[in-house]
Amino acid sequence: MALLEVRDLSVSFSTPDGVVHAVNGLSFDLEPGETLGLVGESGSGKTQTALALMGLLADNGRASGSVKFRDQELLGMSSRELTRVRGSKISMIFQDPISSLNPYLSIGDQLIEVLTHHRSLKRKAARERAVEMLERVRIGDPLARMRQFPHELSGGMCQRIMIAMGLLCQPDLLIADEPTTALDVTVQSQINALMGELSEKSSTAILLITHDLGVVAGLCDRVMVMYAGQEMEMAPVVTLFAEPAHPYTEGLLNSVPRLDRARSGILNAIPGNPPNLLQVPAGCPFSARCRHAWEACRERPAFAEVGPDHYKRCHLERLPEAPPET
């Protein structure tokens, strides 16, 4: 049984300009202990998917469809029931670690309250657990850190603390929303290494949201590529990098600068911009930017299996060989 079953998830926001359809009928499963990468450009609905799972959408947001966590429906759950799941069975870490921590409370207080609330631990016991957890995420001098405030720590340190906070209750699922985007490159790799190590050692499944394909290659078991709030391609990580089946995936892979290829002086990019989500695109959402688009693309393709555990939403039987140099 899958840990998380997302079926036909849609997220929309009512704005003064109209209804923005951020996520449109997304479905995927996540197995226990698995690390799934959610990849796509900005605005492809990755973050809103995660927030919808947590019940943390903005006030003007609405989620529909079904999200089952251990056979328990999360959408439409009362906020009281949700507080029992959040932080305890599913936890989430965010993009900007420094502003995600409360600047008015000490690190210790912010860690301890998770345990006193979810595990009904006494403050002293909770403090000990928190210190242990800080050691596990490789924070030096954890006792001193417990007394410090977020502004006294670096971004990388704050993200370690967020990770520690997320893992305090040994959740079944950790949602990491671009955990390294706001950090220096060297710190990024440290945090990624830490996440990889933790996912190997613990049974926690990770939903990793990122636009960094390098991170995906290093950490994930499976990848789902999102575009305009829909799944474009989903495959085990090796398959996706070796045989991308969707033109969008191919475009994403090609736009990663490579040191081992002759330099043409021009960085590859996918031309055009993601569609305006005030309307759900009728056909294939990527067709407007796709080099291979043809008449059939006016109809939305199904998300169909193309190989073992490999799915794509595209009318093309296979990608034409040899992507031309741009």
Partner: protein, 312 residues
């Protein structure tokens, strides 16, 4: 912290000195003098009065004399209330004004903050609109309208409370305290609502929700402190204002506070009385702004006034 406090105290002295100097010369520039009346006084008497109060001396001389008095904490005799010194007048009126103002301040905080937070949690819903409209009315209606209405209702129609007069008893304080507190409740509620809405949108509140904390805990442990900071900065000058009394409220409820001295002193050209209340007000403003800074440092760990920065 001690270091900082001493510095602040030291910087208060030049501020007060400037305040005294400005006030001293400004009141002298105003036309007329303390003993001008409908009927001109005989020249001999006028000369005697001037000599008694040192008004015959050149202005710089009077100024220095006054400074020397102030250093000895002697505000001098009142020019209008004969046989009273300004020290006596303030000593009699200040406890009354401080009591009323202090109670009004506490009442305003106790009601304004919860109302504002409550409205913030119901942002743009009927409850929010209702409360904020009432607050707007509270700010807009001047106290010389509110006070008579309260008297009409509670003193005359219902007969529950006295209409005016003063003694240190709860029944005499209720109406003036409410009158003083109403606009402040409204202000504090609006400030609290605004800052609370902003705080509730911040990332660390989203983190607190993601941690599975119940809304109540989020509100009290995570959101309240930052939401109160703007209220605190409003309170500094507002507290000094409310503690020094209100002419209108003192007039309507016939209360012997110091609020009316501001107006009476100026109208009577009661030089020493004006100086006395101005200096008192100045001291309160300086004191409360200092307190605000201390409370800020206590609430916000990012603010540290000490020289040794609390670094890593």
């Amino acid at each position: 912290m001690l270091n900082y406090s001493l510095k602040r105290l030291a910087s208060a002295i030049p501020t007060l000195f400037l305040l005294i100097t400005f006030a001293f010369f400004l009141i002298r520039i105003a036309p007329g003098g303390p003993f001008d009346g409908e009927r001109a006084l005989p020249p001999d008497i006028e000369a005697n009065l001037a000599a008694k109060y040192h008004l015959d001396e050149p202005l710089p001389m009077q100024y220095l004399r006054y400074l020397w008095q102030i250093v000895r904490l002697d505000f001098g005799p009142s020019f209008h209330y004969l046989d009273w010194t300004v020290n006596d007048l303030i000593a009699q009126g200040a406890p009354v004004s401080f009591t009323l103002g202090g109670l009004a301040l506490l009442l305003a905080l106790a009601i304004g903050i919860p109302i504002g937070a409550w409205a913030a949690l119901r942002q743009n819903r009927p409850g929010d609109y209702a409360v904020m409209s009432i607050a707007m009315v509270g700010i807009s209606i001047p106290n010389f309208v509110v006070a008579p209405l309260l008297i009409l209702l509670f003193a005359i129609s219902l007969g529950w409370l006295p209409a005016g007069g003063w003694e240190f008893s709860p029944s005499r304080m209720v109406l003036p305290v409410i009158t003083l507190a109403l606009p402040m409740i409204a202000y504090i509620a609006r400030i609290t609502r605004g800052s609370m809405i902003e705080v509730l949108r911040s990332s660390f509140i989203r983190t607190a929700r993601a941690k599975g904390l119940p809304e109540k805990e989020i509100l009290f442990n995570h959101a309240l402190k930052p939401a109160l900071l703007p209220v605190i900065s409003y309170l500094g000058p507002a507290a000094a204002g409310i503690l020094t009394g209100s002419v209108v409220v003192e007039r309507i409820f016939t209360i012997p506070g110091i609020g009316s001295y501001f107006v009476q002193g100026a109208l009577n050209r009661d030089y020493t009385l004006v100086m006395g209340v101005v200096i008192l007000y100045g001291i309160l403003i300086i004191l409360f702004n200092y307190l605000v800074d201390l409370i800020y440092a206590w609430l916000d760990p990012r603010i540290r006034y000490d020289d040794q920065e609390a670094g890593a």
